[in-house]
């Protein structure tokens, strides 16, 4: 595949501020291993953008760079108009992040977790109190507010974690395999919330290795061995390859080679 083919810069007619995320030749190497290999793409505001790939394809490494958790080896990217190399502090105030690891404190209560993260994002006490009530109501957790987070079922924990990562009203939310280990019904519910979030004008950047979830995305990029090998709307991709499902497209593209390899 030529490098020309790999350049998926978005619509050049759009001004830079139209993009929630734009990456140019973004690369991350760990020693001799290249986890992310010169990826370039853009994500429009309000889009649900998916990163599909096997374990070790470089999805998490890429997302960690966008969130300012990891400096790139070369290339650059802008998130919410800020440069990931030099302005990660501004980025952190504008983005939400929820990782595959459950990130709430299990030994704190539901309300205490909300209060803590609200405080960390610099919200005022009144703001936190208001948000807490609103959140508990949305999640129907009012009667569990003083229960330890550890006592919640996994699906609820993940919804709570998602809500907490939205406390400071970020314009972009990064979800790194948010539905890992969750039953299909909870997953469907979770995606309903993702649609609500996108409906409110926020950009959702989500990584997954579930093919059904890939179908839900507005736009999708398929990662393989650190590279983006295909990008587009799920329907558009099916048309292009003349295949019925994302599963078939994925297998067609990576030739059945979805061994988990080179996990950083």
């Amino acid at each position: 595949m030529s490098s020309e083919h790999l350049r998926f810069t978005g619509d050049p007619a759009l001004p830079a501020s139209e993009f929630a995320v734009s990456a140019t030749d973004l690369t991350k190497r760990f020693g001799t291993f290249t986890a992310v290999d010169a990826i370039s793409f853009t994500v429009r505001k309000g889009e649900i953008f998916g990163f599909l790939g096997a374990n070790g394809a470089g999805k998490t490494t890429a997302i960690r760079m966008f969130c300012g958790l990891l400096p790139p080896t070369s290339g650059t990217a802008n998130v919410a108009g800020y440069n990931i190399r030099t302005q990660s502090r501004y980025i952190k105030q504008t983005i939400g992040y929820m990782s595959q690891k459950f990130s709430l404190y299990e030994d704190l209560t539901v309300a205490q977790n909300i209060e803590f993260y609200g405080g960390i994002y610099g919200l005022t006490r009144e703001h936190i109190a208001r948000k807490t009530e609103q959140l508990l109501e949305e999640l129907q957790l009012q009667d569990r507010r003083n229960k330890l987070t550890a006592s919640l079922p996994l699906g609820w924990k993940q919804r709570l974690a998602l809500s907490v990562s939205l406390l400071h009203d970020p314009s972009i939310i990064f979800l790194d395999e948010p539905t890992g280990g969750v039953d299909p019904i909870s997953r469907r519910n979770f995606w309903r919330i993702i649609y609500e979030i996108a409906g409110s004008g926020k950009t959702v950047f989500v990584t997954t290795h579930y093919m059904d979830e890939a179908e839900y995305c507005n736009r999708l990029s398929i990662m393989y061995r650190g590279r983006i090998i295909e990008i587009g709307h799920p329907g558009e991709l099916k048309e292009r390859y003349g295949l019925d499902s994302m599963q078939d497209i994925f297998i067609h593209l990576v030739g059945g080679d979805i061994r988990p390899e080179n996990t950083p």
């Binding site: 969130c67 300012g68 958790l69 400096p71 502090r89 952190k92 105030q93 983005i95 992040y97 990782s99 690891k101 459950f102 990130s103 709430l104 404190y105 299990e106 030994d107 704190l108 205490q112 209060e115 803590f116 993260y117 405080g119 960390i120 994002y121 610099g122 330890l148 990562s165």
Partner: protein
């Protein structure tokens, strides 16, 4: 600032959530004090001793009896056969053999100095040394008594113009080792709390993934560190205050010097231990690793601090090595303040050394932490 307060609040909530933790925090100093204060004592009592009286005179018997009337020694047998002594020492029946030479009485009366031979089982060199010093004291006391009852001896002594040395022990007149050990326990408690809670607290967040979550928030790494070390330092200070209360109740030992000075010195000391805790967190991925490294550090810090083994008893090379151990200085400072009430200006060299180490270790650890996080 507000963010740090939220971090501190969270940390305390987590600590108080865990009842086992609370119990440990208050039980540990108590147990340490009771066990270390009473059991780990370098005092030597009831040393099994045998006496071989080769003189068999009233005076030699009188001297031998002294060993059955003191708590330091336990007279296990009188062995008239000098050659059998070695066997008794070998099989452990006695740790110490005292041989009263023939003509003991005659020599005393005529003013010649009889020489008493002592055979020591030196396996526990420390105890043996202490036992020997008790023995010397008994001999001295005996001598003093003889001066009054044996005019001939008195005459000869006066002629010899012997000046008797008489050591007097201040601050710890009974030479009780508890008094010496106990202030050291305060240092140990502070060391354990700050090193282990700090390192494991940070690594725990790494393990469960909350650290990563915090890193995507606008919080600065300095705030993150302060949010960890402030609560654990507060806990450390509460802990030593509780320990000092226990010490007073259990052993009747109060702080002779200024409590404020003691706290100030403690604050300087924990710069090092917090630094070590942060450093350990940067090289450990799991709490077990952190525990292991922390343990390794602690053992060396304690062994080379003069807590158990007096530094003066160590080989020269090791003695120089102890200068690199901030706990060494803190031990001296604590004992001085606790037992003698020494004011700051006499403790300046130790304080300065400790502060220098503290600043170095702490800033190096924080820099490394910030680099790792970036």
């Amino acid at each position: 600032m507000q963010r740090i307060l939220y971090l501190i609040q969270k940390e305390f909530r987590q600590i108080f959530r865990d009842r086992a933790m609370i119990a440990a925090l208050f039980a540990v100093p108590f147990i340490q004090l009771v066990i270390l204060g009473n059991a780990i004592t370098t005092d030597v009592t009831n040393v099994d001793v045998m006496v071989s009286d080769l003189d068999r005179t009233p005076m030699s018997r009188h001297f031998a009896e002294r060993f059955s009337t003191t708590e330091y020694f336990h007279l296990v047998l009188m062995e008239p056969d000098y050659n059998a002594l070695r066997g008794h020492l070998d099989n452990g029946r006695a740790k110490l053999a005292i041989v009263i030479p023939p003509h003991f009485q005659r020599d005393v009366i005529t003013g010649r100095t009889p020489v008493i031979q002592v055979l020591v089982d030196g396996i526990d060199g420390n105890s043996a040394g202490v036992a020997l010093s008790y023995l010397a004291r008994i001999a001295e006391e005996h001598q003093a008594q003889l001066l009054q009852t044996e005019p001939a001896l008195g005459r000869s002594l006066r002629e010899a113009r012997i000046i008797r040395s008489e050591p007097r022990f201040w601050f710890n007149p009974e030479l009780e080792s508890e008094v010496y050990i106990i202030p050291g326990i305060v240092a140990l408690i502070l060391l354990i709390i700050t090193v282990f809670l700090t390192s494991m607290g940070i690594v725990r967040e790494k393990e469960i993934g909350t650290l990563e979550q915090l890193l995507v928030t606008p919080i600065r790494s300095t705030q993150l560190i302060l949010g960890k070390i402030i609560p654990f330092s507060i806990l450390g200070f509460v802990e030593i205050t509780v320990a000092m209360g226990f010490i007073y109740l259990l052993f009747g030992i109060g702080v002779e010097g200024s409590l404020w000075l003691l706290f100030l010195e403690s604050a300087i000391f924990i710069l090092t231990t917090l630094g070590v805790g942060i450093f350990i967190s940067t090289i450990s991925e799991t709490q077990q690793q952190a525990l292991f490294v922390g343990w390794f550090f602690m053992i060396f810090a304690i062994l080379l601090s003069g807590f158990f083994i007096p530094i003066a008893n160590m080989p020269d090379v090791i003695q120089y090595l102890t200068y690199l151990n901030p706990l060494r200085y803190f031990m001296v400072i604590l004992r001085e303040i606790y037992l003698k009430g020494t004011p700051l200006h006499y403790l300046l060299p130790e304080t300065i050394a400790m502060a220098a180490f503290g600043l170095m270790v702490f800033s190096a650890a924080v820099l490394r932490y910030r680099r790792i996080i970036k």
